[in-house]
Symmetry: C2
Subunit: 218 residues, 2 copies
DNA sequence: GCAGAAAAGTGCGTGCACGCAAGTTTGCGT
DNA sequence: ACGCAAACTTGCGTGCACGCACTTTTCTGC
């Protein structure tokens, strides 16, 4: 019940932040305004978000992390780890329920917001770590951590590239779509990691067999 | 010549930051003090570093990025890409010319400094991108970017783990060395990425052959 | 050399992040 | 039902990051 209230104010704050930023432009929004709109003190606002930009992008990115982790877990074991991870991520970035057109415009326009948006990609790391570790059989958590961190890094690179070309196309008049859509970029950037993901899965399988049949023979 | 002066003041600032932090403890150092010690205004200080922690860790990490990139470039092509990258990184993190014992103690003790130190690992990303792209033959820069980002992420994970156990061993009395030395951790965390690095190298080789011998046959 | 441009440094003002030490609400044991 | 303890909120104070306008330094073409 305490948790519910916390989550509620958190969402109220980020929603208010996004709304005010859209209404007045992001430079005309003080954190006092956001706090006042929700009815809390500005000090409380800072207990939830450590920067103004964080609150705004949180409204767009809420829970994407959890959805990606769940999506990875849902894929059957028959579709290799690499395919499961890549498709789960592309799916969750393709279904853009929340990111309204204008919100994305706002984010791509302001450098500070772009940076905050890019930073949110690293939020998928911990959920992904758990999901991958589960699929690898919970042996060797370090491998899962490294793979999750690498996947998050690849996603970050894709988003950076997407923001770069998107922003450029806005200023240049919308004529160029040099590097394609975000899903395409995600696939492109994640592809080089597939060998590592599948190799880890292979090793995990072997490890499992070795434990099940612990003879010293070759 | 302008560049020389800039670099000089930059180093003077970070050196002064580290020295003062060691002398008085990091909480008793104002940025005004650092600026005054070097003889510039505090505003100029902020033109070089965007946080107080950054200046301190910069004194420890200066140019590690460039050294890693050069080390990768120096390995002969006969040692696969994965081996070249891994050994180059381990080498540069093993030769600890600058990080004096006490400086590392200082960093591991303060959470804010630990975080800043971890963030510096991402600085190797751009130099590494260039080095890897060069080895892959400058075709497909995206792959190089993803691989470099992944390697940087793995290094970050290793440093995080190292800091975690190191800090714990300080508070616990120095009796435990649970997860080994930093070089060992680096090898452990980079190992899962080897398949991806070598696969990319393989693909680059094929691509090069296909271009050299552009027939449609199989 | 010199004039003007480009770049680096500086002073000021503003909004913000965050530690601290209260006050207030919520949850739980008895 | 009551009271206590933990969690959440708040006001205050401080140091800091950074935009802006301005001065000083350094670089270039003539």
């Amino acid at each position: 019940m305490r948790e519910q209230k916390k989550q509620a104010t958190r969402e109220a704050l980020s929603a208010a932040a996004l709304r005010l930023a859209l209404e007045r432009g992001p430079d005309n929004v003080r954190v006092d305004d956001i706090a006042e709109a929700v009815g809390v003190s500005s000090r409380t606002y800072n207990n939830y978000f450590s920067s103004r930009e964080q609150a705004i992008v949180a409204a767009v990115n809420s829970e994407r992390e959890a959805r990606i982790a769940a999506a990875v877990a849902d894929r059957p074991d028959s579709v290799g780890l690499a395919a499961a991870v890549i498709e789960a991520i592309v799916d969750q970035y393709t279904a853009p329920g929340v990111p309204s057109r204008e919100a994305l415009l706002l984010i791509t326009a302001r450098p500070a917001l772009r940076e905050a948006f890019v930073d949110t990609t690293s939020a998928i790391e911990h959920p992904l770590t758990d999901a991958i570790a589960r699929r690898l059989g919970d042996i060797d958590p370090n491998t899962a951590r490294v793979l999750a961190a690498s996947v998050a890094a690849a996603v970050r690179v894709a988003v950076e590239q997407w923001l770069r070309t998107t922003a450029a196309s806005f200023t240049a008049g919308g004529l160029v779509v040099p590097s394609g859509s975000l899903p395409d970029l995600l696939r492109t950037m994640l592809a080089p990691l597939a060998p590592a993901l599948d190799a880890a899965e292979q090793r995990a399988r072997q490890e499992r067999c070795r434990v099940t049949t612990p003879d010293g023979s070759k």
